[in-house]
Subunit: 474 residues, 2 copies
């Protein structure tokens, strides 16, 4: 996989090396080198992959149940990998075919350890390596997320990943310029243009962005990379209530304008978990809510002036009770780690029920409050955090272990509540295996029917990422 | 058609009033009121619609040939509008059904007067009215184009219109949040969310953005509107050669960063035509090339400082030989008119052969130069202008009248040249009727096949915008 810059444009092509068909084998070449994104710790931090494979977890959790044991899934009549298949792959990628069960385990278990598929792999470059590659050349990737150390660009596009830069650079539907996709019948669909504008017929690449590999396998991506900002600052603030978080957001949009690049929030329980499980220190006084604001601009002096005026106003008017500001890269990373590593802290707290919702901002936190009352002591923690600037709440509930009654108290309640607000039951994480029967809460039957028709058109045998994305009954 | 702001978001819903099915009738309510975008003239300027209908052209051009007379199109076995149909429409939109041939003429002839379909109409709000509506409330539409006085938002989305704000706000694939679409079988597909993020299944609205009405009729649009910039400035500069235009662009991107909102260029012949046919005065010394740079930002002082430094550098280093700067709205509009009204000046120069190409920026102007040599005196003018910031060249050739030999000298030469640069034969204007057989220059057979499959899936009877977008032979 060699990313190369397209000379005429600040866009980048990411192409898989010969032999895209590594779906059935693990490519060791792209395993991240023991780095944990946003971590300020050294040797103590396990790599995401090691974590997924659990080779260095503090206490070894029990082996993950097979999906078909936990969920009522019946295997479709697919064939299984034969010795001949392995020999064919060995010819395509010599010396890189893995059959070691221990090594494959990491690729077959999701990192939440709730689903075990049998063959899962995405061709691609690791997002963090790409980011470094383009940043050395004066650009940035238009997306960034906590999992950047292990996620692959092909997977990011296939799942229409959102993340931390969405507020500034928007969705991958706008920033992806071209794709190469292998269709279910083996045909290579080449839409790998690097042009900013191209209205020659239907924009086919859009079909595959966010289709989670169910319509085709993305093998190469061309993506528009904006120039690297000359100055990046992060403010970490404490807010007395969620109403003040919202008022801070409105004020901030008005005063920071085009240099605002992220507006994230987290509640007090998130901060407690990050402190308890990851030993990260709280940088401001204890508050009911915390806000992380990032600015990115082309003139450090101008940006500092804008941010200074905003902070003065926010503190003076009581929107914010305490705050800290970082402009050097190390401190910026430390502040970001508080937000980015919440997911990791939650996973160390027990079994996690995760929801990723789009909601009207003014009602975004109501669900967290009402769930705390509804669940009572059955839940260890009910926390809310996320991309407030995009109306995206990450709602997480932790418990000692998975339990059916707790799940029944959460679902369909969470989905029904979201549907009543005309929100989305999956803002940026996608549908996958676990949410496919919740689609109807956010999409009408006509839309679901058309999705199934598209699936039937592009993958009539249902061989691409089966049991995913589309409702079971459809 | 009543646009209303969605309270929780700076996004806007544009919904057609009851009775979307005005395909067969002209809705007088949305006829623009004699205003010509960017015009600094008063009563002398004809409205675009009047121009299309030719009711106030200085000299009446001959009646436009029927499409089936000029082009080899055979009518598909569709039925014709009956008295019963008219009565049905009259029930749906009482008093607004038009059968007057003179009034319908304007809707049946494209404004270039080369194609006469029989029934053309788009439901929708006029873009300029929408812009005004949202600007009064502190926002801007994420798209803007010369035709804003007459084009409809439904049509803008259906054709994935690019335009003058593309550089800053990107494509409609990124800014459109939701659509309501009527499918070929009459089903209403409601994907009219106003959420910024929604990953519940395939992003179906993307299918219809840019499909030119061939897959469904867009009846309502929800679109993300960025906050209105507090300060807008325009610089109009003269450049000694195209190489300097390119260097000015690179310098400008680096120095203006996030406040750069447009970078347009035009050649000396464009300026001459604008002067000759529209009597607009050249604001700077005569130059081989002119560049229009717009900045939009949240702090007038900061923006002026950035723009000042850039202009000083550009003049000092010889990138630019002369320039003028505007910050008040009237002067800004006057400078924009020089660029926006080129199309109008060209149409007054004779018959216009129009090409809208995406090309590598460094070769963008080569085609104009080589075509001048190739065509010699057969062409009145060969001009190049466009959205340099997006790699988008508008190449126009004028002649006294339409001539087959001149067309043969242009096509397929222009398309082959573009294909050799891996460019696009339609950057932002779309395919429509005239370019459908040129698609193959920018898209591989696999892509064309998939487009036809999608058309067959969504419109098996071929009743939606027939004879358009897809290749004849497919």
């Amino acid at each position: 996989m060699v990313p190369h810059r397209v000379p005429r444009w600040p866009s980048w092509l990411f192409r898989a090396s010969p032999g895209w068909a590594q779906t059935a084998c693990a490519l060791r070449a792209w395993v991240p080198q023991g780095r944990w994104p946003g971590s300020s710790r050294g040797a103590g931090a396990a790599s995401p992959l090691a974590r997924r494979g659990c080779s260095s977890m503090p206490s070894q959790p029990p082996e993950v149940m097979l999906t078909q044991e936990r969920y009522p899934v019946r295997r479709l009549p697919f064939s299984t990998v034969s010795e001949q298949d392995l020999a064919a792959f060995e010819r395509i990628v010599p010396g890189r075919v893995t059959t070691d069960p221990g090594e494959l385990e990491a690729h077959n278990v999701d990192w939440l350890r709730t689903v075990r598929g049998t063959l899962v792999c995405q061709a691609g470059c690791v997002l963090e390596q790409l980011s470094r590659h383009v940043e050395e050349r004066g650009f940035v990737m238009p997306l960034d997320l906590g999992a950047k150390g292990s996620c692959h660009i092909g997977g990011n596009v296939a799942t229409n990943a959102g993340g931390l830069r969405f507020l500034r650079y928007g969705s991958l539907h706008g920033t992806v310029l071209g794709l190469e996709v292998v269709l279910a019948d083996g045909t290579v669909l080449n839409c790998l243009t690097s042009l900013r504008k191209d209205n020659t017929g239907y924009d086919l690449k859009q079909l595959f962005i966010g289709s989670e590999g169910t319509l085709g396998v993305i093998t190469a991506v061309s993506i528009l990379c904006p120039p690297k900002p000359k100055a990046v600052s992060v403010a970490f603030l404490g807010c007395p209530s969620f109403a003040e978080v919202l008022r801070t957001f409105c004020t901030c949009k008005g005063m920071l304008g085009e240099i605002l690049s992220a507006f994230e929030f987290m509640d007090a329980e998130c901060m407690q978990l990050v402190g308890r499980h990851l030993h990260l220190a709280r940088p401001v006084q204890e508050s009911p809510f915390y806000v992380l604001i990032e600015t990115s601009g082309s003139h450090a002096g101008h940006d500092a002036e804008k941010l200074g005026s905003f902070l003065e106003h926010a503190l003076g008017s009581g929107l914010v009770t305490d705050g800290t500001l970082a402009t050097d890269q190390r401190r910026v990373k430390m502040l970001w780690a508080l937000r980015e590593r919440i997911t990791e802290a939650l996973s160390l707290d027990g079994y996690v029920y995760k929801y990723d919702l789009s909601l009207p901002v003014e009602r975004l936190y109501d669900l967290v409050t009402s769930l705390r009352a509804r669940l009572g002591p059955r839940a260890k923690h009910v926390v809310g955090y996320g991309h407030l600037g995009d109306g995206n709440l990450h709602l997480n509930v932790t418990a000692e272990a998975f339990s059916e009654p707790l799940l029944a108290a959460l679902e369909p309640h969470v989905y029904e509540w979201t549907a009543a607000q005309r929100g989305s039951v999956s803002a940026e994480h996608g549908v996958g295996f676990k949410k496919r029967d919740a689609l109807g809460y956010s999409k009408p039957p006509t839309a679901l029917r058309l999705m199934c028709q598209l699936k039937a058109l592009l993958d009539p045998k249902g061989i691409l990422n089966p049991y995913k994305t589309l409702p079971t009954r459809a």
